[in-house]
């Protein structure tokens, strides 16, 4: 995917120069291995700072909220679905965004890479489907498929669903991906084991809200955890409050989450927070035959009542 960089720069420069957009939202090279920094380029002369590789896991749709200008945004499959959701939810207009579509072959999980070596990693180089990892006194090469982010490993929507221009031809859509194997494992547990599973999952949570803030869906002016009249959630690391935060946030994302993985990527203590949202995603699939953000033409099921909606829970 690193070959996309040149195309992104070319498109960005063009749409800035001809006034199609006021700014372009993309990534620039990070200061440590496996990290890139989201950036806003307004000056056509600065487009050379834009890069693209398998370390662009943060969802740039997050930065569109509240913008009033015309903005170009580099979007992979999941990001573009979030842009669709933003448009449906009236957070931005279609005319405002110029989507530079990126057919994505997956993002590298830097924790999987770090975990696979003994020492500090000083450089990571992508070479097609292989990834070369270098440290002060070691070097190894792995298959990218082995170090993909969890959500990328099961992704079935790699190509942008919405784009004004694409940087490359669409990539093949993976078939036969079992997206919910881990969810089924938890569903199969008995209630006590399930409880313990989730308790253990969030036991390290430090309530930094990186997951919430990295999520493009979480744009409430005042999040429910910050309300004081009345106060819904305590602010300490009491497990009850932490549980409430994660469970409620997942529910607020139900029917909207595109499984972009930004939440897991952002979490500083490595909590697999997608375990909450994936269950709800599975439920929406099964109950409403719904996947978020695939089309601008249909409102999400939790937005709309249809007579054929499942109703057997109404007693």
């Amino acid at each position: 995917m690193i070959e996309y960089t040149a195309k992104i720069r070319e498109i960005a420069e063009r749409i800035l120069r001809d006034g199609t957009v006021d700014a372009v939202l993309g990534f620039r090279r990070g200061s440590i291995p496996m990290m890139n920094e989201p950036c806003l380029v307004k000056d056509p002369a600065q487009v050379q700072t834009l890069v693209w590789d398998s370390n662009c896991g943060i969802n740039l749709a997050n930065y569109l909220i509240g913008r009033k200008d015309k903005i170009g945004v580099v979007a992979k499959g999941c990001d573009s679905r979030n842009i669709v959701t933003h448009i449906i939810e009236n957070q931005i207009t279609r005319e405002q965004v110029y989507v530079i579509g990126v057919p994505c072959t997956g993002m590298i999980d830097k924790r999987k890479v770090s975990g696979s070596t003994g020492g500090e990693i000083t450089e990571v180089l992508e070479e097609g489907t292989r990834v070369k990892i270098k440290g002060a006194d070691f070097e190894t090469t792995v298959d990218k498929a082995d170090v993909l982010q969890d959500n990328c490993a099961i992704c079935v929507h790699p190509n942008p669903v919405l784009h004004d221009e694409r940087v490359a031809e669409p990539v093949p859509v993976p078939q036969d991906k079992d997206r919910y194997e881990d969810v089924r494992k938890v569903e199969a547990l008995d209630p006590q084991a399930k409880w313990e599973y989730f308790e253990d999952l969030i036991s390290g949570c430090i309530r930094c809200y990186a997951c919430r803030n990295a999520c493009p869906l979480c744009y409430c002016p005042t999040c429910f955890v910050d309300e004081s009249k009345p106060q819904w959630v305590g602010k300490s690391i009491d497990p009850v409050d932490t549980r409430t935060f994660h469970l409620l946030r997942a529910y607020h994302c139900a029917g909207r989450c595109t499984d972009c993985g930004a939440c897991e990527r952002a979490c500083p203590v490595g909590i697999k927070v997608r375990q909450f949202t994936k269950k709800l995603e599975k439920d929406c699939r099964e109950l409403y035959n719904w996947e978020a953000g695939l089309t601008l033409d249909v409102r999400p099921p939790l937005d709309v009542y249809r007579p054929e909606d499942p109703g057997d829970f109404i007693k």
Binding site: Y63, Y209, K235, P268
Partner: protein, 358 residues
């Protein structure tokens, strides 16, 4: 805590280390790095558990052992049938002696920086001070700094002694221990680590220290921060660009050993309640929100600027003793969007108002 005077150098053999820990644990609560999942945490050690010193640094700083993330301060009853209803009372606290084993020198120095906030002539935070004073800091010198460590230009170093009562330096068969304070001496005595090191030890330590310092590859420039005009730095044009990617989470502030801001909250369950304090972050919009709805820092850029100005300028001006950062590198490694304090520090240090803007 004067890190300059070395009282003695002790040699601790591997077996002695374990036996000594056993002796210590009879009277002192031991805390040390423990591997949990993919990384290390600084935790209280159950009896018999030896700290895992094969680590670079803990994910979260050890500040939580002196300054817990959530801490009950006062309690009260709202039951009007009680004679002391609605009156705030102190809570019984456990400040029994503890030892932080294997803390890195940057983290140990950080406690001294935080102390300046909690221990002032006018007000003393009893909770923090009491716990700090009953804690013995047994530092572990770094022999393999990370590429993101910049302690040597942030007031510390891989063999830094400030903030440590004892500094352990790894040897093939154990440790050399520099005893730095009376508290450190007391700990060595309880553990019965009393074997004086050989006469060549100081030279060995000096050479190991130089080696380690030579391995530091990250440096920041801070020498001009003090003389910069606050308002000029504040109005500098680079903040928009620095702050754009920030998602205003609390990662940097919660992982940072020198961040200390907190929130006070009352929590009531039925008729019983307590006043507690929790870590808070200047990154959150709620941090400065007035009751009237006015917010002095409503924009993300203002909050990001506040964090860096506070750490690299306001603190420098207030205490005239260096930046409020020890170069541990945690924020660099874990910021979800890779905002890098080294870059910002150099931007601030090198900023000349009126110079050509790019």
């Amino acid at each position: 805590m004067d890190g300059g005077k070395v009282m003695r150098i002790i040699r601790i053999e591997k077996d002695d280390w374990v036996t000594g820990l056993g002796r210590l644990s009879d009277s002192v609560r031991l805390c040390g790095p423990v591997k949990t999942g993919d990384f290390h945490h600084f935790k209280q050690l159950p009896k018999g558990v030896v700290p895992d010193l094969e680590y670079r640094n803990t994910r979260l700083s050890p500040k939580s052992l002196v300054y817990p993330q959530s801490e009950a301060m006062l309690e009260y009853t709202l039951d009007t049938r009680q004679p002391d209803h609605h009156i705030h009372k102190e809570i019984a606290k456990d400040f029994s002696p503890q030892a932080l084993l294997g803390i890195r020198p940057c983290d140990a120095k950080a406690f001294l920086l935080v102390r300046r906030n909690f221990d002032t002539p006018q007000y003393k935070d009893t909770y923090w001070i009491r716990r700090y004073e009953t804690t013995t800091f047994v530092g572990l010198a770094c022999d393999r700094p990370c590429t993101t460590c910049f302690c040597t230009t942030a007031g510390s170093g891989p063999h830094g002694e400030e903030g440590c009562d004892v500094l352990l330096v790894r040897q093939e068969d154990g440790f050399l221990a520099k005893v730095l304070t009376p508290k450190g001496e007391a700990l060595m005595e309880t553990a019965k680590w009393q074997t004086e090191a050989e006469s060549g030890a100081p030279a060995t330590l000096e050479s190991l220290k130089k080696d380690a310092e030579g391995k530091i590859v990250s440096h920041v420039q801070t020498e001009k921060l003090r003389q910069k005009e606050t308002l000029e730095l504040y109005e500098a044009p680079f903040w928009q660009d620095v702050a754009f990617s920030c998602i205003n989470c609390g990662t940097c502030t919660y992982l940072c050993p020198t961040c200390w801001c907190f929130d006070i909250q009352d929590e009531v369950y039925g008729l019983q309640g307590m006043r507690m304090r929790n870590w808070d972050s200047c990154m959150y919009p709620l941090f400065t929100l007035h009751g009237s709805g006015h917010n002095p820092r409503p924009e993300k850029m203002q909050r990001v600027r506040q964090r860096f100005m506070h750490k690299l300028k306001y603190y420098v001006d207030r205490y005239e003793n260096g930046i409020q950062c020890v170069g541990c590198g945690r924020c660099i490694q874990h910021c979800p969007v890779n905002i890098d304090i080294r870059k910002v520090c150099d931007l601030m240090n090198g900023f000349e108002p009126g110079a050509c803007a790019t």
